[in-house]
């Protein structure tokens, strides 16, 4: 009966909410908030519970709830809640579509997390996909189309994997996996992982993300922060729950890393690198964040591919962090867009003085993104690095490390271009974002801060997941975490940091008695005092770097896809000529078809 309450709360409640918020359009955003709040809060009593059931709607939905489900729900539902909270001031009042589709997406996502057979997984997966599709459609049809094509590609890759699984087992149940030969497993896992990797926007399947992430920001926060984690979940389930470590190791090992996982780890590292480099050169705030998202999920892929306890733990932790900080960043971008209507970094600037709280939240998220140790973002990155280094992978580790340096570059581009630097005259009267938006961001900031001080808490959950999947255990205590080659203690770090910060503060404030706060235009400008000039140096910020990279940037996966599509469309035009619109030709086809039928029949006789 308990599972029914879980199914009810996490799947049915959002579904009912979706219906209600469509019917009661006037209160849609608030209804959406309430119905997103229920699962997000109800989640806490469910910690550590394990249960399962079968729901029969004509097809049997096998559902279960365990700590993995719980862990992923924690990020998804919280991010969804924050997005809905943000949306209460972002979305136009009286518009039903947004809440309805968000809740549908949430229900789908929770369903994916609870599914324990492939049919259920696929049903909820697609439900989530198309509701996201329509949400993208609300802002742009073309972007939605790109999103949809890749969502469907992902679904069809999954179908291939599911189908081969079905061929061997005759069942859709995860638990029915036995007696599949290794070659079968290779295909199943390849298709499943690629299918899930599309959602995680792993190179070269990432090209949908920069487009889809340009739609409404609260939704994008959910898409990037929440829904992309379903890819992580899927890969984790496919590799470590359905197949299991033994089968992965059966493919042969390379320094005790499965040979099957290793290519994916390399792909992930490469994604991290590419995503970061491309993010550096973006001027569109949303696109920058999109590429950053691609890069960050590349790290997660590395961890999932490597498959040591430290790596998988790091991947899960990083996915968790990414859910929160990327949601804050997208929401922050949303707040800026909401207040100014602009999204080009070079057109903004100086908003930190007008929107200080937004700035602080975004700053904190950026600390997490860049992996500054005062947030939990560092710890997950640390785990991934150490996982690669302790196994001495000289290709993966440098790619990841240099990508994280690149992350500083685009982080600063956001900070400087949007929040610092010169405030445009036009934005003199910009107000701070409305309270619900700030509350949403503050809510998302909490876990990043808490788990930076007490990493042991979250590592305990992750450890439970890892033990459950027979991957191994992590070494950690409440404040510290260790790998085989190193470790760090956050308590010592925090105390020292606080003390030293206070010392600096003392040194700094000792003599500051009277200071005049000057206008930002009161600057050192080589003796000239122009009345007003646009001096925000954010346009084409990394131009020298861009010039250096230009020969390489010419190659774009995006364009490669476009060429590929164009090639096919030309082919389609040729095929279309078969339909000549002449009935006599058609009659002739009929005759030929008859002959072929006869010949085949004769041959088969």
């Amino acid at each position: 009966m308990e599972i029914w309450s879980a199914f009810g709360i996490f799947v049915l409640v959002p579904l009912i909410g979706a219906l209600l918020s469509y019917l009661a359009r006037k209160y849609a955003v608030y209804l959406g908030l309430i119905f997103a709040l229920v699962p997000a809060i109800a989640l806490y009593p469910f910690y550590g519970k394990e249960m399962s059931t079968v729901v029969n709607i004509g097809v049997k939905l096998n559902l279960a709830f365990d700590v993995t489900t719980w862990f992923f729900m924690l990020m998804l539902d919280t991010v969804a809640l924050a997005s809905m909270l943000f949306a209460t001031s972002y979305v136009r009042k009286g518009e039903g579509g947004f809440s309805t589709l968000m809740l549908l997406g949430l229900a789908g996502a929770n369903g994916v997390l609870m599914a324990r057979d492939f049919l259920t997984l696929y049903i909820f997966w697609e439900m989530m996909s198309w509701s996201a599709y329509i949400l993208v459609l609300r802002s742009s049809g073309e972007y939605a189309r790109r999103y949809m094509l890749f969502a469907v590609l992902s679904a069809y890759l999954l179908i291939m994997g599911i189908g081969i699984y079905y061929y061997y087992t005759g069942s859709f149940l995860y638990s029915a996996a036995s007696g599949i030969p290794l070659s079968g497993w290779a295909w199943i896992l390849l298709f499943l992982i690629l299918g899930f990797a599309v959602k995680m926007a792993v190179f070269p399947l990432h090209v949908w993300a920069p487009y889809a992430y340009r739609s409404e920001q609260p939704f994008v926060a959910f898409l990037s922060g929440g829904l992309s984690k379903l890819g992580t979940f899927g890969i984790f389930m496919a590799m470590y729950s359905i197949a299991g470590v033994a089968i992965l190791q059966g493919f042969g090992t390379f320094r005790s890393i499965s040979l099957f996982g290793y290519p994916f780890a390399v792909l992930g590292a490469f994604t991290a690198f590419i995503g970061t480099i491309l993010a550096i050169f973006q001027d569109d705030l949303r696109k920058l964040l999109a590429y950053s998202s691609i890069g960050q999920l590349g790290y997660v892929m590395v961890g999932l591919g490597l498959g040591t306890p430290l790596a998988v733990g790091g991947a899960l932790f990083h996915a968790f962090n990414h859910a929160f900080f990327k949601a804050i960043l997208f929401l922050g971008a949303g707040a800026v867009i909401y207040r100014t209507g602009k999204y080009r970094i070079s057109e903004l600037g100086g908003l930190g003085y007008r929107m200080p709280f937004t700035f602080l939240f975004v700053l904190f998220a950026i600390f997490a993104l860049a992996g500054i140790p005062i947030t939990s973002g560092f710890i997950s990155k640390w785990m991934l690095y150490e996982a690669a280094i302790e196994k001495k992978f000289v290709l993966i580790a440098p790619l990841m490390l240099i990508a994280s340096v690149g992350a500083f570059l685009y982080c600063f581009r956001i900070l400087y271009g949007v929040f610092l630097g010169q405030l445009d005259k036009e934005h003199e009267n910009v107000k701070e974002a409305p309270a619900p938006m700030l509350a949403a961001m503050a809510l998302l900031m909490l876990p990043l801060l808490i788990f930076a001080i007490f990493p042991g808490w979250i590592l305990k959950w992750i450890n439970e997941i890892l033990t459950g999947a027979n991957i191994g255990t992590l070494k950690y205590d409440t404040y510290a975490y260790y790998s085989s080659i190193g470790g760090a203690d956050m308590l010592v770090f925090w105390i020292t940091f606080m003390l030293l910060f206070m010392i600096s503060m003392y040194l700094f404030t000792r003599k500051r008695k009277v200071t005049k706060v000057v206008d930002q235009y009161d600057n050192y400008l080589a003796g000239e005092t122009p009345p007003y000039v646009q001096l925000h140096a954010a346009h084409n910020f990394y131009k020298p770097l861009r010039d250096t990279w230009a020969p390489l940037l010419r190659y774009s996966v995006d364009r490669a896809y476009e060429k590929f599509v164009k090639f096919f469309i030309e082919g389609f035009e040729e095929i279309k000529k078969m339909y000549t619109e002449n009935p006599q030709d058609y009659a002739a086809y009929l005759g030929i078809a008859f002959l072929i039928f006869l010949l085949v029949g004769w041959w088969l006789l």
Partner: protein, 112 residues
Amino acid sequence: MIPYYYIASIALIALGFYIVIAKKNLIKIIIGLDMMDTGVNLLLISIGYVKGGTAPIENGNYPIYVDPIPQALVLTAIVIGVSVMALALSIAIGLYKNTGTVEIDEIRRLRE
């Protein structure tokens, strides 16, 4: 061994089919369709044929009679064929009214 009466009907069908795909005149095409129909009817009627049989009227005098069912079938088929032809011709008339020609190629050219 294919019975020889099959050959005649197959020839008729093939001829009709040839007309349908080769002739450009709409009326001729419809005639071709009709020929195919006739060929099939011939096939049907001939499979019911029994050597030396008479009309299937059961009064005990003639023990050998042809199979009555194909005849019934052919009657139906003829009726259907006629109505299809009528519709086809009316469509041809419609096309002629719209384009002023019954040549397939010209109809196509007019549309473009």
